[in-house]
Amino acid sequence: MKHQNKLSQEQQQSRQVGTEQQSQASGAREFASAEEMLRYDAAHTPVPPDIAERLQKSTGDLPRPKTAWWKRLFGGDHR
């Protein structure tokens, strides 16, 4: 819903114009806004797999839990 609201406020119109079009002839790509360009760039930017491996190692030495986050949120055992 939030996403739809934001789009409807400012970007829906520009989307209707026909954005992120790729010209068959020139290979050029067009974006109606900076955000749309950034979205495209983010979608085509791979996340290095090393991060997940490093995280797995880094979290291996951490102490055991005190209180489960979901217990704090929901006040009970929901598992």
Binding site: R29, E30, F31, T45, A52, Q56, W70
Partner: protein
């Protein structure tokens, strides 16, 4: 992987990472402008989240909470490196009067050059405009959430976003 201090099972933390790693890495990459630093920052952000999940109060979405950690982390890193500000809020008038064609499409000839041009463009913007554009580009965030992350009202976000778009468009054209 151990259970997190907040009692998050490995599979749950893995899910949290899978759902949010792209957003956090991209923010770090474009905010810091360096792939290696972005990789380190993303690792550190999720490690902090892993350690502090018991402090998450559920008042914001997990995505927003992760963004807050990432923004603080990246801003601290940048402050440690340099305090250059090529454009500040004082330059708003310049961009208000600029001839940037914000209503015309931004054209890129090849996808592979896009990242480099975007980075150059973002580097030329103030930290505030850069962060604002990166956050608004995330379709999962509302203006209210973006405002909360940058300490502005939703209306202020909309106003600054307009100027940020102009500044982006003007600089982007120069990178061609």
């Amino acid at each position: 992987m151990e259970e997190s201090p907040a009692g998050l099972a490995p599979s749950e933390f893995s899910g949290l990472y899978e759902e949010n790693n792209r957003a956090i890495y991209y923010l770090a990459l474009r905010f810091l402008g360096d792939p290696q630093k972005a990789e380190d920052a993303t690792h550190d952000v999720f490690l902090k989240a892993f350690r502090k999940l018991d402090q998450f109060r559920g008042e914001a979405s997990l995505r927003t909470w992760l963004y807050r950690i990432a923004i603080n982390h990246c801003q601290n890193l940048r402050q440690g490196w340099h305090d250059r500000h090529m454009f500040s809020n004082a330059d708003d008038a310049v961009w208000d009067n600029a001839v940037a064609k914000t209503d015309s499409p931004l054209r890129v000839l090849e996808t592979k050059e896009l990242g480099q041009r975007i980075q150059k463009t973002l580097d030329a913007l103030s930290d505030e405009y850069r962060l604002l554009l990166l956050l608004v580009a995330d379709e999962e965030l509302s203006y209210e959430q973006v405002g909360a992350l940058v300490g502005q009202s939703p209306d202020a976000v909309r106003g600054k976003l307009h100027r940020a778009r102009k500044a982006f468009a003007a600089h982007f054209e120069k990178t061609a």
